[in-house]
Symmetry: C2
Amino acid sequence: MKLGLDVMGGDFAPKATIDGALLALQEISANDRIVLIGKKELIESELAARNVDAASFDIVDAPEEILMGEKPTKALQHKPNSSIAIGFHLLKEKKIDVFASTGNTGAMMVGAMYSVGPIAGISRPCVLGEVPKEKGGLNILLDIGTNSDCKPEILYQFGILGNIYAKAILQIENPKVGLLNIGEEDEKGNLLCQTTFPLMKASQDFHFVGNVESRDLFGDTADVLVCDGFVGNIILKQVEGMYTILRKRGVNDDFLNRLNYENLGGSPILGVNGGVVIGHGISNDKAIKNMLLLSKKVADSNLVERIKTALLPYTKTI
Amino acid sequence: MKLGLDVMGGDFAPKATIDGALLALQEISANDRIVLIGKKELIESELAARNVDAASFDIVDAPEEILMGEKPTKALQHKPNSSIAIGFHLLKEKKIDVFASTGNTGAMMVGAMYSVGPIAGISRPCVLGEVPKEKGGLNILLDIGTNSDCKPEILYQFGILGNIYAKAILQIENPKVGLLNIGEEDEKGNLLCQTTFPLMKASQDFHFVGNVESRDLFGDTADVLVCDGFVGNIILKQVEGMYTILRKRGVNDDFLNRLNYENLGGSPILGVNGGVVIGHGISNDKAIKNMLLLSKKVADSNLVERIKTALLPYTKTI
C-alpha cells in the first residue's frame, strides 16, 4: 500500500512527521511505501540530517503550505501546491491508497469533499474517534467532527459507518451500535434522539442496542456510539481535559494512560471516496507513527469499498 | 430557616436520609430547623433506634411514597400525600424555606412547576450542577436537567440564573459566564450556539467571556458554563463514569476525589418560586448532609428573591 503523509502538517512539523514516518517504516511490510508529501528540499535535508537514505520513501514535492489558522476553502483554492491539496490530488488519482495529516482539520475535511468527494448515498461524511474500553479494546464515537446539527437520517448513517469500521478495523464480528443519550429508556433524550431511536431500532444495517449513557463511554454496552458532531466533540475534549489534569497531577494508571491521544492514531474521515486520516495538531513522532499504522489498516481493510457496498441500497433513496 | 427533607427519597431511604439529617443537625445554626417529611411512624422509629429525641426535628407525616420509576405527573396526581407532594405544599405555603429530595427527579421537577411554579419572566426552569475547579472552588454547569432542546433565549436566561447563583452561593463577585462550545472563535458551534453567542455578547445582565471548550470544564476560563440540558447531562455523566472507573482502579488523587458526588451537595432547580434542591438517587448520609447544607445556603442567600429581582425587566418582554 502507498501511505501518503502530509509532512508539513502539525505543530512540530517537519521534524515530528519525519521522525514518525521513520518509526512507522520499521513496522510496515515490504510491500508498503510511505509517500512523504511536502517541501522536497526540506524533506531531503531532514532525512540527510538523520543519515537516512531518501530512497526509503517516495517523496512528492509540495512547495506550498496551509497553516493551522487558514480558512479551509480559501487556502485550498489559493494553494494548489500545498501538501494537503497535493495529497488529495494523489488520493484521487489513486497514486496513494490513503492520506494522513495532522494539519488544518478544516482543510482536510474540505479537501476530502472536493477531491475524492462523498461516497454515493452518503449525505454527510463524518469524523470518527476511538476511545479505550476499560476492559481492553476500543470503542468508537462518531461524529466528533463538523456535523454539529444533524437530522435523524444522518445519525442513522453514522451508525452504518461506525458498524463497518468496527468490523473492518477493530475486527468486531457483530458490533453493538448504540445511540448516545441521557437515559436508557426508548423515549429519552432531545428531539434528535427521540426521532433517531425508532429508525435505528428498525435497522437491518446494524445491531442496535438502544440508548447508551455517556457514563458507558468506556464500557462494553456498545462498541459504536452515535451522536452529532457537537456532542461528540464536547465529550472528547472533556475527556482530553480530564486526562491532561490528572496526568499533570502525576496520576499514573494504565487505563488513564490509554487515553493518551498518541496511542490512538488519529481520526478517520468516513464516507468519502478514499482513505483519509486526520491527527491531532500537537502530534509527536509516536502519534504520527500510530496515525500511519492506522492509515495502513484503513487501506488494507478495503474500508472505503466496504462502505460503498453497504451504501448501495441507499444510493437511490437518500 | 426551615429546611425540608424528603425522608423517603433515594435508594437508601429512610436510613441514609435520617443519618444525613443527623449529620447536618450538627452543622446548622440554632435558628435552623430540619423538617423531616415522610412516613411519621417510620421516622420516629428510625430516630428512636438511634436514641435521638424526635423533638430535634420537625416531622410532617406523608403516608404515601413516590417510587423512582413512577411517571412524575401521574404519581403526583395520584399521591397527594406523598413526601414530594407534601414537601412542595409546605414550600408553597412558606412553611419551609427550601425543599430537598434525592427521590424521583422528574417528580421533583414537575412538583416544582405545578406548586410554586416558575418565576415571572422565566421561560424554562433548569437544574444546575457544580463541578470542582482544578485550582479550588467550583464551576457551574447549567442546564444539566430536562431542557434537552433549547432556544437561544433560554440559554441566555440560564446565563442570568447561573450568574446570580455564582454570586449568591459561591460568593463570586463578578462571575465569568461562558457558552460551552466546540471552539473558542465567535462563530463556532451548532446553530444554537451560533445564535446564542450574539445575545450573550450583548448582555447587560452578566459578564460574558465568550465560547468555552469542554476541556476547560474544570478550569478558570469561566465560572458559569451554559449549555442545553442534553449536553450538560451528557458531560456530567461522562465525568461520573470516568471518576467511577478511576476510583475503582484505586486512583487516589485530591482533585479526582473532589469529583465525588457526595461532596457536591446536589443540584438546585433554578427559576422556580421557591428553593428546591435535588440529590443523587444513590446518596449516602454524607451526600444527604451536604444536600441539606447546600439547601441552607439557598435559603440563607435569598436566592429566589434575587432571581425574581433580576428577572423583573423581562416579565413583560419574554
